[in-house]
Assembly symmetry: C2
Homo-oligomer: 304 residues x 2
């Protein structure tokens, strides 16, 4: 018996075609995607020309990708999909510091540094000290020996990998190990907000929809400790521009951190910075659990 | 006031970010897509690893595209999206012959041929005669001078452009003009079913889901007449394999056509074919309307 294509029966027919998929999880994913994509098409009723422009957009997005550029992740980011997936995957981590997107700039291995080291290798801007503690969510006990992979843009909003030759390698990056009380501290400068890459199809989408490409100022962290689920997150600089309109929707209120102006010559001397300086004091709580399914960021660049 | 990302609020936040889109149609499309994509993600709850595989799949799909290969259209095809869009766009054409997908093999200009010409330039297989009439839907009157752009695979399921050097250029193709009574007739061979390209991500998807890549045997038509909406369609060979499981969901029952076995020396002589031969007799009805927004197939290859 021949099939007969109809608008009403189309989604069912496609889902039925996937019925023999041996991997049940793959079949579940395809069923849901087909159901929702067909619903969107039936709702929007695209013209042939609109469908062709959609095909062209997706094709250009794929073709923009290189070893150092991932335009499909950028698209996922500006549609809020990346953050939605990230947030779904942190469910159940009650009491843990909230996660946010990895971004594309965790491309190089952060240099191991001693506690207190300065990750700002340029030294022309007001110093900033970041201090804090890593604790477990179960009892709030400190996690000695926790590692903190830190990376950030400079005060012009650029990462070292974006300005090779202009910024020293490893500028704004450090891999720290917390002390016996789970404490950490390092010197840096306050990062600036910055735009995600706009020279591709996603940039065209933002321009066509009058959306700005900026991300509020933030410092990235990946925090790990034996027996705890690694955490990928940011701290956002309180008062930064774009905190209410992050182009990739990555802001969670709990991650907004005061970078206080401190005028205290003794404290400045203790941290080996000039006075006055900025100070951020944070606590990072990890939930017990296995290591994540893979070390994040080890499979190519992610955006932004 | 800072935003706070939540699963529940995510779709609204993204849709709100598109609120300033000057093109109202674009905004409507994005709203619907965001709403349905977020719904699918919240339903499926992908792991980070699954999300990464989805990004990799889309990237590979874009990177498979070339001047002569359109893998995203192939993806749209095997998900039934292409046919859904096609079918939505033929609504209102009451009484008209149904449309179906263009496919990717309308890449070259079909050679103009006289009525009765043979589009099979090889001449080794049983001949087939296709005859018919082009009429308007309003009163059923014939449409003299209607043009019929015809293309088909050979009896091994290959189009001329797939076998340069093996098949003569223009094999299986012809551009015909109906006579004063809207009639047309030409000689050919019965085409075979064939697989869509399987050497890309879409082929991997079909393999992973145990779907076969075949399309049932068919002949393509684009039929045009002044004052009527051009029609892109197929006629499917009744009894062909895969008629109930076309890999691109393009079958509509009304398009299935008997290719009758005819044993009639006089009729064979009239059509200048050897006896016995196959005969398909079709009527194509066009609905009044403007020319379509563009001549289909003029903007690169489409699949399949």
């Amino acid at each position: 018996m021949a099939t007969d294509f109809t608008e009403e029966g189309a989604a069912d027919a496609v889902i039925e075609s996937f019925a023999g998929t041996p991997d049940e999880r793959l079949r579940t994913i395809l069923d849901s995607l087909v159901r929702h994509l067909h619903a969107a098409v039936r709702e929007v009723e695209p013209s042939i020309g609109e469908w062709e422009r959609a095909i062209d957009f997706l094709t250009a997005t794929g073709q923009k990708c290189t070893d150092v550029r991932q335009e499909f992740i950028l698209l996922s980011d500006v549609l809020g999909i990346s953050m939605l997936v990230e947030t779904i995957n942190e469910r159940g981590a009650a009491g843990a510091t909230q996660s946010t997107v990895l971004g594309p700039f965790h491309m190089t291995r952060s240099p191991e540094r001693e506690l207190g080291a300065n990750i700002d290798l340029v030294g022309e801007s007001q110093p900033c000290v970041v201090i804090g503690r890593v604790v477990g969510t179960t009892d709030g006990d400190p996690l000695p020996g926790a590692t903190l992979d830190v990376w950030q843009a400079n005060d012009h909003g650029a990462y070292d990998v974006q300005e090779p030759g202009k910024q020293p390698d490893g500028n704004g990056r450090g891999l720290f190990t917390a002390d016996g009380q789970g404490r950490f501290w390092f010197r840096t400068i306050v990062p600036s907000y910055y735009p995600i890459p706009t020279d591709g199809p996603v940039g065209e989408l933002l321009a066509a929809t009058r959306r700005h490409p900026y991300r509020p100022a933030h410092i990235h962290f990946i925090v790990s400790a034996d027996g705890y689920t690694p955490l990928t997150t940011h701290i956002f600089v309180a008062g930064t521009e774009y905190i209410d309109s992050d182009a990739v929707f990555a802001v969670k209120k709990s991650l907004i951190t005061e970078f206080k102006e401190v005028d205290d010559p003794d404290l400045a001397a203790q941290y080996q910075v000039s006075n006055p300086f900025r100070l951020a004091d944070i606590q990072i709580a990890l939930s017990p659990g296995a290591q994540a399914e893979l070390a994040r960021g080890d499979n190519g660049p992610r955006t932004p």
